[in-house]
């Protein structure tokens, strides 16, 4: 009887409540989630940065750095009393070659965590252009830092610094917000200057701006970046994904595609950040939950939100604005205000302003497939 009851409860918690077009291909939906907050040992719930690094998850919080051991779930943390140079960590990247962890510090500059100790660079002891750092990215032997007064590049071998501002890069404004490196290109999301692309091989810059040049409108949906106030840019599979506070967009090298809440499944146009998994799939950190475009070709999205009044959540699958499926589940996100996202292998890691949510992607598949067997088993597994 107990088993029967439990099975019924599980089915109620993780079953598709509404399915349109039975037998149609649908995206993977994460139904198995883990949560980490201060109750699990995080130094702070307000998480600005998340980086999955094989068996570890690094978290940059408003009051310290944290490390979650994926296998055991154990949390270790470092605050200023442990040698962390500044309490607020806004960006994290890991050098795959050396294992060094690089930290963008919000007001504290740049730090490297290596061999159990912190090394610190700031305006007064280095070529870092400003201490208010929003993001960091490792590019070969270089470390790029997006700061509020330009971008800095530190060569870890020669120890030389380069500074990029309006004087030597096409920055109409110098307020760098996000930085990302992949496949030979560094992309900077620059507040007021769209996205800048730096080709590592040639040392040349290219800019991507909103073609209408107006702040108050987006003239055409698919004519370029939806707005120049950009927050992050990811380049993968020769596709550039961009997040802004006014919507998001995708560029495949030939065509742009804009996405707004009014024409897609993204829960909000206010996007703090993004993480792209492929040229076909990208995850957006909005102020009203997570929006994941799972199949760009068909504009198929999954939006994850937490119920504010209970420890439950749901995923809504949409194509354009048509709801295909609503999946009710147990607790998914720790909060709907999302600040950063990372993906690695099958899993996703959602940094919110009140804890970390870890989506376990057992059975994950990219794109669309026949449903719902995998979904149902995932949902039960989460309980």
């Amino acid at each position: 009887m107990k088993y029967l009851l439990a099975a019924a409860m599980l089915a109620a918690c993780a079953a598709p409540a509404q399915t349109v077009g039975s037998g149609s291909k649908l995206p993977f939906v994460y139904t198995k989630w883990k949560q980490f907050t201060t109750e699990n040992g995080l130094p702070n719930d307000h998480i600005f940065a998340v980086k999955s690094d094989g068996p570890r998850i690094w978290l940059g919080t408003e009051n310290g750095l944290a490390l979650i051991d994926k296998a055991s779930g154990k949390v270790k943390s470092w605050t200023e009393k442990d040698g962390l140079p500044w309490r607020v960590v806004t960006g994290i990247d890991v050098d795959k070659k050396t294992g060094d962890v690089w930290l963008a510090l919000f007001g504290g500059g740049l730090a490297r965590f290596s061999g159990g100790r912190f090394e610190h660079w700031h305006q007064m002891n280095s070529g870092l252009v400003n201490d208010v750092a929003y993001g960091v990215a490792v590019e070969n032997d270089n470390v790029w830092v997006a700061t509020t007064a330009g971008a800095s590049r530190y060569n870890t071998v020669t120890r030389e610094w380069s500074v990029f501002t309006e004087k030597n890069a096409p920055m109409e404004e110098i307020w760098n917000y996000g930085v990302n490196y992949r496949d030979g290109k560094v992309h900077l999301a620059v507040w007021g200057s769209g996205v800048l692309e730096y080709d590592v091989a040639t040392g040349r810059w290219k800019d991507y701006l909103d073609p209408d040049g107006e702040m108050e409108i987006d003239l055409y949906r698919d004519d370029g970046i939806v707005h120049v106030i950009t927050t992050q840019a990811n380049y993968i599979d020769k596709v550039l994904w961009v997040s802004t506070y006014f919507g998001v967009c995708r560029y495949d090298g030939r065509n742009w595609r804009g996405y707004y809440n009014k024409d897609s499944g993204n829960p909000s146009d206010f996007n703090n950040n993004l993480k792209a998994r492929s040229g076909n799939e990208a995850w957006f950190a909005t102020d009203k939950g997570v929006g994941a475009i799972m199949d760009a070709a068909t504009n198929t999205w999954v939006a994850y939100t937490r119920d504010p009044k209970s420890k439950t959540g749901k995923a809504v699958v949409t194509r354009d604005k048509t709801v295909l499926e609503t999946v009710e589940m147990g607790l998914n996100l720790t909060h709907n205000y999302i600040l950063a996202i990372d993906v690695e292998d099958n899993d996703v890691f959602i940094a919110t302003s009140k804890g970390l949510a870890w989506g376990v992607g057992d059975g994950y598949y990219g794109g669309l497939r026949e449903r719902p067997k995998a979904l149902a088993s995932n949902g039960r597994a989460s309980k």
Partner: protein
């Protein structure tokens, strides 16, 4: 010991009752907002009835960008929400003061804008005085009334170096925290400050930066209580082109962000009205000789000249224009409405017209009282930066008094205020993007003084301001 404890409990209870009595009564609208934001869990977002508008910034159809095309999306019509957990943060105990941040140009230093000496301290110092007066008056009335704690102004210099502003706001947010911030003037520095305020989640009210793009960033933590260069630009263009019929306008401006963004609406509106600006010349701030720029402008045979920059350069340019026989009417930004301009321009100031964010000649006992108190406190007359800062600081203090020591609630109270703030600079109605959408004026210098004229008093025509937003507007309202 027990008696002592009991006595202390009674004392604190009495203090609580006293504080409760002293707390200012909230109006019904504020009470309703407080009802909606108090007692929420960290996961709940209150229904704050987001302000929704049908028209952005009172823009008439004939000066809308790409007016012949229905845009795919129109921004800034629906108010931004703050959806994070901040409202659930408990009020701290044991505070010795309620710190409110001030950041502005108050110390002379080097400047990004000039590549040399900074130039905005004269404005920033007045802004600081206005803020100080508001804080001192609040303390004279008992300080933060829930605990009778004095307000304290945490002052930082905005030295004109782009990066340092961010550092200062970070300090205010984390090192020695404040509950809200007022500042700054330079538009580039203001943009940097609000990016930090957004991440750190502290409300920032701006009282001196008139750059239109300052609030066009969709940040729910930012408000401004001064009419911006978009509104002033629209009024100047309506006066120059619609009323006076000038067809060829020349622009001379400072080569900094203030000049570059200040003239944008004038340039765009003139072009959209069929009279594109004939020439635009920029100069380096701090220079004395403008002959190169004036040579070019003179060659273009313009009907009127617009200057956007500081009072010093404004007067020098005007004097050099008149010295070479250029008789065109001279229009300026609000920074020229100053004793510095009047003194340096002398007789040439006669007839100069400037956009202005408020009407200082308005008959208002509050304004008179403010001026009197300001003069008594600082021995100088209050001007526009002081008056707007006074209003801005009073708005913050009001929100703290009502909402308590909670950054998100302070933000909510400012964001949701539907009635215009009754400032000494006039009624301040905040738009959906929390910008001052109130009336702006033209200041005309004549017979030794500035006279402030409204659109109505000068019978300045304006284009059709539509009643529906652009994306859902039908042909019936998109007519020209």
């Amino acid at each position: 010991m027990k008696r002592l404890l009991l006595a202390m409990v009674c004392l604190f209870a009495a203090m609580g009752q006293e504080a409760k009595k002293a707390a200012p009564a909230a109006d019904p609208e504020t009470q309703e907002v407080l009802r909606r934001i108090n007692g929420l869990t960290p996961y709940e977002v209150p229904d704050l009835k987001l302000r929704t508008e049908q028209n952005y910034a009172h823009t008439s159809t004939d000066v809308e960008p790409f007016g012949s095309v229905k845009p795919y999306k129109e921004h800034f019509l629906v108010q931004m929400e703050y959806t994070g957990p901040g409202r659930a943060a408990p009020e701290p105990v044991g505070l010795k003061s309620v710190r409110i941040g001030f950041i502005g140009p108050i110390e002379s230093t080097v400047s990004i804008a000039t590549g040399g000496k900074s130039h905005e301290e004269v404005l920033g110092k007045m802004m600081l005085k206005g803020a100080q007066l508001a804080v001192e008056q609040a303390n004279a009335k008992g300080g933060y009334l829930k605990g009778k704690i004095p307000f304290e102004l945490a002052v930082a210099n905005d030295n004109g170096l782009w990066g340092s502003t961010g550092n200062e706001v970070v300090k205010m947010a984390y090192e020695n925290p404040v509950w809200a911030i007022l500042g700054t003037i330079d538009s580039a520095n203001s943009h940097i400050a609000i990016r930090v305020a957004l991440k750190a989640e502290v409300v920032m009210i701006n009282t001196g930066d008139t750059d239109p793009t300052f609030i066009e960033t969709n940040i729910p933590w930012v408000a401004r209580n001064i009419g911006d260069d978009r509104q002033q630009g629209y009024l100047l263009v309506d006066y120059m082109i619609r009323k006076m019929g000038y067809k060829r306008i020349g622009i001379i401006r400072s080569s900094n962000r203030y000049g570059r963004f200040g003239v944008r609406e004038i340039k765009d509106s003139s072009r959209r009205l069929g009279h594109p600006v004939a020439i635009e010349m920029a100069y380096k701030v701090g220079g004395d000789d403008f002959s190169l720029q004036l040579d070019r402008i003179q060659e273009m045979n313009v009907d009127a000249i617009v200057h956007w920059g500081d009072a010093r350069e404004s007067a020098l340019i005007l004097n050099q224009m008149r010295a070479r026989g250029m008789k065109q009417p001279y229009f300026c930004s609000d920074r020229s409405v100053s004793p510095e301009f009047e003194k340096a321009a002398g007789a040439n100031a006669e007839g100069v017209i400037c956009g202005y964010p408020w009407d200082p000649d308005r008959k208002d006992p509050k304004l008179d009282e403010f001026r009197k108190a300001f003069k008594a406190r600082f021995q100088v007359d209050a001007e526009t930066y002081a008056a707007h800062a006074y209003d801005g600081m009073n708005m913050l203090i009001w929100a703290v008094q009502q909402g308590g020591l909670n950054r998100a609630k302070i933000r909510d109270l400012i964001a949701t205020r539907s009635k215009p703030w009754p400032g000494v600079t006039g009624a301040i109605p905040l738009s959906a993007v929390m910008d001052d959408a109130g009336e702006v004026f033209l200041a005309r210098f004549g017979q030794g003084r500035w006279k402030y004229e409204s659109r109505e008093s000068l019978q300045i025509p304006r284009g059709f301001v539509p009643v529906r937003d652009r994306t859902s507007r039908g042909l019936e309202t998109a007519s020209r």
